[in-house]
Symmetry: none
DNA sequence: CGCTTGACAGCACAAGTGTTTGCTTGCTAT
DNA sequence: ATAGCAAGCAAACACTTGTGCTGTCAAGCG
């Protein structure tokens, strides 16, 4: 049985094992590591399959050198100074009232990527995070101003007081507000004393993410 | 002779060699690689210095395993990194009143580095930029809150209305305020209606930088 | 059927490599 | 001086690890 990329099941397993090993240890596995952990009975089998993987360009090897395996595309040439940050897609602008494409609907691959400092969270914390540029002053009391970039973790629920991107289904509008669930109704509170809250019901509300960070550039 | 980070010249060379080797081959060097290429007469010398490097946290090793060296901060990731961000030194905390080491005086090499998204400016714009963590609420009206990280460009002058890090010479205090030059005197204005401005004279004031960005992490 | 080929097993050898031990140096504090 | 110690040296030692046979087995083929 072969998988779609023309590798045998065993080769696929080996390749994945190498990738995982590399991620975990930051150095390549020895043939015997592969052999033992994948339960292969002989080192020669591993060597045999490694040869094939190399011929197919999936890995590259420095012969005779122990652990001389590397995977093209996995490099560690990054900034030595710190662990590098992560990139999240910039999905557009948000203003009270303007429609926002659903994060799931738009092609994340094509979206402009912006970088996020590692200080804002680990890779895990930044899973499903996207960015929006804020227009307007409705959140100034939450220290979010016009032109700020907010980082949002995609989630469909929120706790009281959290700042969320909320879609009002009937109005087909999206807005950045503080979320409060009050009995049967939901209150979306602007963080600006001059603005009035919006009241709605749970079934008219679709939460599209929660603010996890703010980035601002000052002239 | 020691370099600023407490490593001997030889240790520095070894560390750099490992880095370069890693970049070039994507797998770690063997002790003998280091020995030969750096012209060291014995493997034990390399082992000796590697032990020290590990104790100082500059590298980490998986004992006995060949080529089991890795450098914390250099990780194998497959993510095609479009890294155009930059790193700036995090020089400490700022609160109205607390003293701050002069950016020129402290060793920038040793300071923790934090990453800055490319969106906050080009390499040129980020020259001489450093970061401080804000404590307190004196700048909330300028959308800077407790726990925020402010990015500062080192400069000794400022225009009216800009937010600056100002050192009051006589008081030996450093504070984050809005800067206004009013005739003979200077007004340092907190961005918080409940707080009073500070008045001083140009010769008692030493500007240490201007806010060019804000980064905030939200729980 | 005999032959070839791909895939795997077992095993042993020879490099590849990290560690250890014992021996210098050069410098510093007592 | 003299002991103490970091740093370096050299060689020996022992474990790690890649390779190279030698076989086995099932599938494909004329």
């Amino acid at each position: 049985m072969r998988s779609s990329n023309g590798l045998s099941v065993r080769q696929e397993k080996i390749l994945n094992y190498i990738r995982d090993f590399l991620k975990k240890n930051n150095y390549p596995p020895a043939i015997r590591d592969i052999q033992n952990d994948l339960g292969i009975s002989s080192t020669s089998v591993v060597a045999y399959n490694l040869r094939i993987l190399e011929e197919k360009g999936k890995i590259s090897r420095d012969g005779k050198i122990s652990r001389g395996i590397s995977i093209p595309g996995m490099t560690l040439d990054q900034t030595v100074v710190t662990s590098h940050g992560f990139t999240v897609p910039m999905l557009g602008m948000i203003t009270a009232g303007s429609p926002l494409p659903d994060p799931e609907a738009i092609n994340v691959e094509d979206a402009e990527q912006i970088e996020v400092p590692a200080e804002l969270g680990s890779a895990d914390k930044l899973r499903d995070v996207y960015a929006l540029k804020v227009r307007g002053y409705s959140m100034v009391d939450a220290l979010i101003g016009d032109g700020d970039i907010v980082l949002l973790r995609y989630q469909e629920t929120a706790d009281n007081g959290q700042t969320v991107v909320a879609r009002l289904v009937d109005e087909n509008a999206v807005t950045l507000k503080k979320f409060y669930h009050e009995g049967e109704r939901i209150r979306l509170q602007p963080a600006n004393v001059t603005m009035e809250p919006i009241f709605t019901t749970p079934d008219n509300l679709h939460i599209q993410g929660r603010v996890v960070g703010v980035i601002r550039s000052v002239e």
